[in-house]
């Protein structure tokens, strides 16, 4: 599956995972928060986070064996990937969420904070991509 069909099907699975996590153990499926909490969170609150991340990484890597997968080889400059990674980690921690927590879960709760966050990170991401590709002309 690719394009809109893969997008819709994959999106529905993501939504179903978020609903399962909330309905079963009452937690928001925000990946940045779950990941940072798995490393730095309270000791008694880490196991479910590790289980969630293990399921996500194993299932994701398994499915990529059967669908068109991105190249394994490095495709972008290391400096750009490092700067981008730092900003994504820093920003999601400061803003309490990423595409999953604010996007899929926050919008589903009709949270004003999440709506503001999604509008902000979408806008800044689009401007950044525009500047990199069409103003500076640096390949990512």
């Amino acid at each position: 599956m690719s394009g809109w069909a893969g997008g819709l099907a994959g999106g529905a699975l993501i939504g179903a995972g978020a609903v399962l996590l909330l309905g079963s153990i009452g937690r928001i499926a925000g990946i940045s928060g779950i990941a940072s909490g798995a490393i730095e969170g309270a000791a008694g609150d880490r196991a479910w986070r590790v289980a969630f991340l293990a399921g996500m990484m194993l299932a994701g890597a398994l499915v990529l064996q059967f669908v068109p997968a991105p190249p394994r080889t490095q495709t972008g400059p290391a400096a750009l990937l490092l700067v981008a990674g730092f900003l994504v980690g820093f920003g999601t921690r400061l803003g309490n969420g990423c595409t999953s927590g604010h996007g899929v879960c926050g919008l589903a709760r009709l949270s004003r904070r999440s709506l503001a966050a999604v509008a902000t990170f979408m806008g800044f991401a689009m401007v950044t991509t525009f500047v990199m590709r069409h103003v500076i002309g640096v390949p990512a």
Binding site: M1, W4, G6, G7, G10, G11, L13, G15, A16, G17, V19, L22, G23, S24, I25, G26, R27, I31, A35, S36, A47, R49, A51, F52, G55, M56, M57, L58, A59, G60, V63, L64, V67, P70, T73, Q74, T75, G76, L81, L82, V83, A84, G85, V88, G89, F90, G91, T92, R93, G95, C98, C105, A108, R109, T120, F124, A125, T128, T129, A140
Partner: protein, 137 residues
């Protein structure tokens, strides 16, 4: 406890499979969506639409219950005020996302799948989160 871990594992597996099926682990697809002036790739909009089509109605019905199925209580953020820290964090995240096309979930799946880009990106992401966590204290 084992049921809690199994539920968390299953929820993670659904999300990981969804990210892979929808090509969100391919950062060129994500950048193709963010680049509205290029050959625009709408896939991310379908992913978000598919996710919200499930999460919007079902979050509503789940949160009408008194408690989660496996016990405990719903741990949902109560804050509703938009503040500078939220906007600054979202802006910084957006810049990083727009630079490389990776957000945290796809980067983690990418590491598991052996994508070299993700192996470079993820340690920097962990460091950024750690430093922001220290500064915010």
């Amino acid at each position: 406890m084992n049921r809690v871990l199994a539920a968390a594992f299953a929820a993670g597996a659904l999300i990981g499979a969804g990210l892979a099926i929808s090509s969100m682990t391919d950062r060129s697809v994500v950048l193709g969506f963010l680049d509205i002036r290029g050959a625009w790739n709408p896939t991310l909009a379908f992913v978000m639409g598919g996710a919200l089509a499930v999460s919007v109605p079902l979050f509503h019905s789940v949160l009408k219950r008194n408690a989660p199925a496996l016990g405990g209580e719903f741990r949902v953020p109560k804050a509703d005020a938009v503040d500078g820290r939220l906007i600054a964090g979202a802006a910084v995240f957006g810049i990083g996302w727009g630079l490389a096309g990776f957000c945290p979930g796809p980067a983690l799946v990418g590491v598991a799948a052996g994508l070299m880009d993700a192996w470079i990106f993820l340690p920097a992401m962990v460091a950024g989160s750690f430093i922001a966590g220290r500064l915010a204290r």
